[in-house]
Symmetry: C2
DNA sequence: GTAACTTAATTACTTTTCGTAAGTAAGTGT
DNA sequence: ACACTTACTTACGAAAAGTAATTAAGTTAC
């Protein structure tokens, strides 16, 4: 049972951002529209989960999928206005990580 | 294999925030030091996971656990400076959620 | 003094999600 | 024809989450 007393909009926003990989996918797309395999290799997510996350973000209206029927065909993912508006938040997280995360203390590769 | 090209500090910061419940726990503690059961009921997390998350956040230096040997004994959780410095980020998420999350589109209770 | 209650957990068990690897469909390059 | 690339999907074992019951230490109620 969820007996939360928090703002539902805030909770919803947090639920999007707190799903594994989702934040990194958005962050990566802030540098511009990109193809599936580019995102995949830049953040180290598996195809299975990237496919899932992009679909989820598309449903939330954060990410846009565009098919360019060139030859070879090209499929690009980009941020919608809603997605782009997360830039200030990402900037804050960048600042925080620079101020507080010790380089000894990062994730193992 | 993680072949990420992102800043390791940013990745680490994101990995903290993108764990389920962790963001809400921090957000809740921004309103001041609180006891276990207060956090539990305010964000709707189970004791099992709250215990886990608080321990994790204590290890990361974001949360501080203090035992007050009064009668009755009181255990309070609060944010460290590192934790308090996440306030601007939370403010950005609040703003974003107000601007972009439709009230029809919130989580079910 | 013992039975019921509270807090801060922990343990046991089930369900959901993740991660790895392999497979697929459509097309390209040689 | 054959290998290669892209954008996925499927299968399956492993890890994490969710639910509920239990515990330990102390409090209050009678």
């Amino acid at each position: 049972m969820n007996t939360s007393q928090l703002c539902p909009k805030f909770e919803k926003a947090m639920s999007i951002l707190s799903q594994r990989w989702t934040g990194l996918v958005i962050y990566q797309l802030l540098s511009g529209p990109q193809r599936f395999c580019t995102i995949e290799s830049s953040i180290g997510i598996s195809g299975r989960l990237l496919s899932d996350r992009l679909k989820h973000l598309e449903n939330e209206g954060v990410v846009k999928r565009e098919v360019f029927p060139e030859t070879p065909i090209r499929i690009e993912y980009s941020l919608t206005e809603k997605g782009k508006d997360l830039r200030p938040l990402m900037k804050e997280l960048e600042k925080w990580s620079q101020n507080w995360i010790d380089s000894e203390d990062t994730l193992e590769d």
